[in-house]
Amino acid sequence: MAKSNVVVGLDIGTTKVCVAVAEVEADEEPRLLCIGQAETHGVRKGEITDFEAARESVRSAISDAESKSDLEIRSAFVSLTGGHLSSLNNRGVVELPDGREEITDADLEEARSRGRQVSIPATNTFLHTLVRQYRVDGRDGVVDPVGIIGTRLEADFHIMHGVVTRVQNTVKLVKDVPLAIDEVVVASLASALGALDESQRDRGVLLLDIGGGTTDYIIYRDGAVAQSGCLGVGGDHVTNDISMGLRIPIARAERLKVDEGSAVLGTCLPDERIHLRAEPGFGAREIEREMLHQIIHFRLREMFELLKERFDAERHLPYLGAGIVLTGGASQTSGIQHLAEDVFGLPVTPANPPSVSGLSGAVTNPQLATVLGLIEYARVTSGARPTGGLLFKMKSAFGRLFGRR
């Protein structure tokens, strides 16, 4: 990298590869220098299916960003998604030895390592271990336990894990570009940093990042991650449904979805029709508008219902004061907020644009939430990463968000 404080976020999505280049200082908002994009090939549902094609897509997005920013990109923060990701919550407990009452850094480290002693499938690897909260002697809501007097320290963790081989595929792809990897960040976490503000996280919020191939979700309660994961259904499925349901080509279905699609029913006149103009290889046709809406509606409703099942299993939904926030490309579908409100019974809002300066016009695009979140991730961890007494405060402030890996 040209300057030490320039960071690059790389989000390999199912429809688009997005690269964000920004200057970051720990205490300032990031200055976005440029966004590089390329259409993705060889990725389905967030996972690589054609290695060569995917690599070329990443390369062209990187070179797009390089030419726009006039910088040479050598390393990046990389997002990770796919239906294999899952998460769980666990607690690590440390009893302080007799005669010592002040909690130290070492105790914290011990609690963390115990918190990670959970059984995840043998094929999986830990991706993030995030601190949710500390408890000292059974007292909830301790933000920073170091220095506090107590006999028993408990730490609640949110652990994200995924299938090793799938993670390795992404890593290998990026290394083949070639690029060095600063860190691999689970997409739902990155999106949360890109699309949620602190007050939303404190009040409790569910973020749904409905992308092309996957829907990443993350629930915050009291400022800490409570549940996260990924469902391998996204905008691509809607397009595919339209293509199969109306028997039109995929590309045509994609345009139809963007131009005319709606997730709510009963918004059009009976028998209202959409005229599809003739194109090479495709004769002119008329389709029923309600049919189109139904296809989209059923797909998205089913997706929300499946997600609701997962959320209901852990009972966080009733406590989300800030409701639901939607982001990701498919969140632009008209009427999707109403549908989500209907299914989840919570207020639904679109994501706020993240606070960045520079190229701020780009940040309102929900497709970029993840990649901008990667920049934000780089910013907060840049303060936390060097281990030194001076930066310790920083670390604990963000420790609740991340917990170092």
Partner: protein, 461 residues
């Protein structure tokens, strides 16, 4: 042990009797004959002489000449029972000589509820294996009939080797809401007929890969089980996939969603002489994705020239009310003559040079080299597909030392699902057409393939 699918002349005709009891029972028999002739003896038993007279069954038994004097029972099971008791002699002689007896009845009425348990017991006492196929009344028929049906069902379960129970309410999905009661009943009969025919075919048809009655028993194992039955038939391009699709859409199948919870699934694939092993294999792969990791697929393939050009898929399983019990049923007292010993042939058509992966080791299983497998043998053979591993386990239990000790204590131990939980190899291809997701791993949640458009899946219901 390897007989060839082509020599149907030497078919060991297993004598099967299908006994229809009461009005509903004889209706099903009629339908069975009407739709497709089957090579079985049909016996109609009824108290109502008029209904008996119009039946097409080859043997007819009038129940309770003295008790009902040729009329019906008026919905009284006690009367039905007495009638059967009175005509016990006639019933016994009608049942004579069949090793396999199917008893078909509609429960809820007098004759069906009252006489059926007795007939089942008599057949059982004569050493026959008894499979009862019964329907429970529609809920609009009233609570009393339902109660009578349940009492009768309990008794039948006690005596029969296996019970397939059709809840008519679940079948109402097939008939349009606007259709009359008559049609709803007709649909129920039709479905039952289909099931009987499928089961008969299963036992009688010469198989490429043979399934026996024992497999059927283990598929239906479990008390208070809810029966899952699906049948589909298709022809043309992609016929295997669409037949499976149809089978999964059968009203008693609940879209195939419960399949990932059951312990045993019986699958029979029938086709004309043009049935290819590749088709069988892709079909089984598609199915294995819908089943749970612990599910045992009891698999058979049969060739029937009548089916030329078409492929039929039968799926039978049972969903326990309680979590599936892996342990096999405590041995039913009936002897299992000849039937359990049915040859389990795995014959690869000589013409095809192509041997799909799972079938590769399926050479004549005769003198299996006593491979020095360690105790964990059943697990270590798991990677091959189901039919093979079942055969394997038979061979091992008959010839092996240590491994036989592991599986032998179970009744019909070599077929018991317990000893070898086989993890399903994740199949890369799903057979339903999924558009742009055709290539690649399907996203399956709760047994539903999410890559298939939601509108297709949701609207069917």
């Amino acid at each position: 042990m390897s007989d060839h699918p082509a020599d149907s002349s030497s078919r060991e005709a297993m004598q099967i009797k299908v006994v229809g009891i009461g009005g509903a029972g004889s209706n099903v028999l009629d339908r069975l004959v009407l739709e497709d002739a089957v090579e079985v003896d049909l016996v109609a038993c009824n108290t109502d002489v008029q209904s008996l007279a119009s039946s097409v069954a080859t043997q007819k038994v009038q129940l309770g000449r003295g008790v009902t004097r040729g009329l019906g029972t008026g919905g009284d099971p006690d009367l039905g029972f007495n009638a059967a008791e009175e005509s016990a002699q006639d019933i016994a002689s009608a049942l004579q000589g069949a090793p396999l007896v199917f008893v078909v009845a509609g429960l809820g009425g007098g004759t069906g509820s009252g006489a059926t348990p007795l007939v089942v017991k008599m057949a059982r006492d004569r050493g026959a294996l008894v499979l009862a196929l019964v329907t429970l009344p529609f809920s609009f028929e009233g609570r009393r009939r339902h109660q009578q049906a349940m009492e009768s069902l309990d008794a039948i379960r006690h005596f029969a080797d296996a019970v397939i129970c059709f809840e008519n309410d679940r079948m109402s999905d097939v008939a349009l809401p606007s259709a009359g009661v008559h049609e709803a009943f007709a649909k129920a009969d039709h479905l039952m007929g289909q099931c009987i025919r499928a089961v008969i075919d299963l036992v009688q048809r010469r198989g490429l890969i043979r399934l026996g009655f024992d497999d059927l028993l283990s598929a239906l194992r479990g008390h208070e089980a809810q029966c899952l039955f699906g049948y589909g038939e298709a022809q043309g391009v992609d016929r295997a996939a669409s037949a499976l699709d149809q089978a999964l859409r059968s009203p008693l199948m609940d879209q195939g969603i419960p399949l990932n919870e059951v312990a045993n699934v019986l699958v029979n694939i029938a086709g004309g002489t043009d049935l290819t092993l590749a088709e069988v294999q892709t079909l089984m792969r598609a199915l294995s994705q819908r089943t749970g990791e612990q599910t045992q697929l009891l698999f058979g393939a049969a060739v029937d020239p009548k089916l030329n050009g078409r492929v039929g898929v039968t799926i039978i399983s049972s969903l326990s009310a309680r979590p599936a019990e892996p342990a096999p049923l405590p041995a039913p007292p009936a002897p299992l003559p000849a039937i359990t010993a049915l040859p389990r042939t795995v014959a690869v058509p000589p013409s095809s040079g192509y041997t799909p992966r799972g079938f590769a080791p399926a050479a004549p299983p005769a003198p299996a080299p006593p491979t020095p497998l360690p105790v964990a043998a059943p697990v270590s053979v798991a990677p091959s597909t189901k039919p093979r591993s079942i055969t394997d386990r038979i061979l091992e239990s008959s010839g092996g030392g240590a491994s036989a000790a592991v599986v032998a204590p179970a009744h019909r131990g070599s077929l018991a699902p317990a000893p070898a939980p086989e993890p399903e190899p994740p199949a890369p291809v799903e057979n339903v057409y999924r558009g742009r997701f055709e290539k690649g791993e399907p996203t399956i949640v709760n047994g539903e393939d999410l890559d298939v458009p939601a509108i297709f899946r949701r609207r069917v219901k």
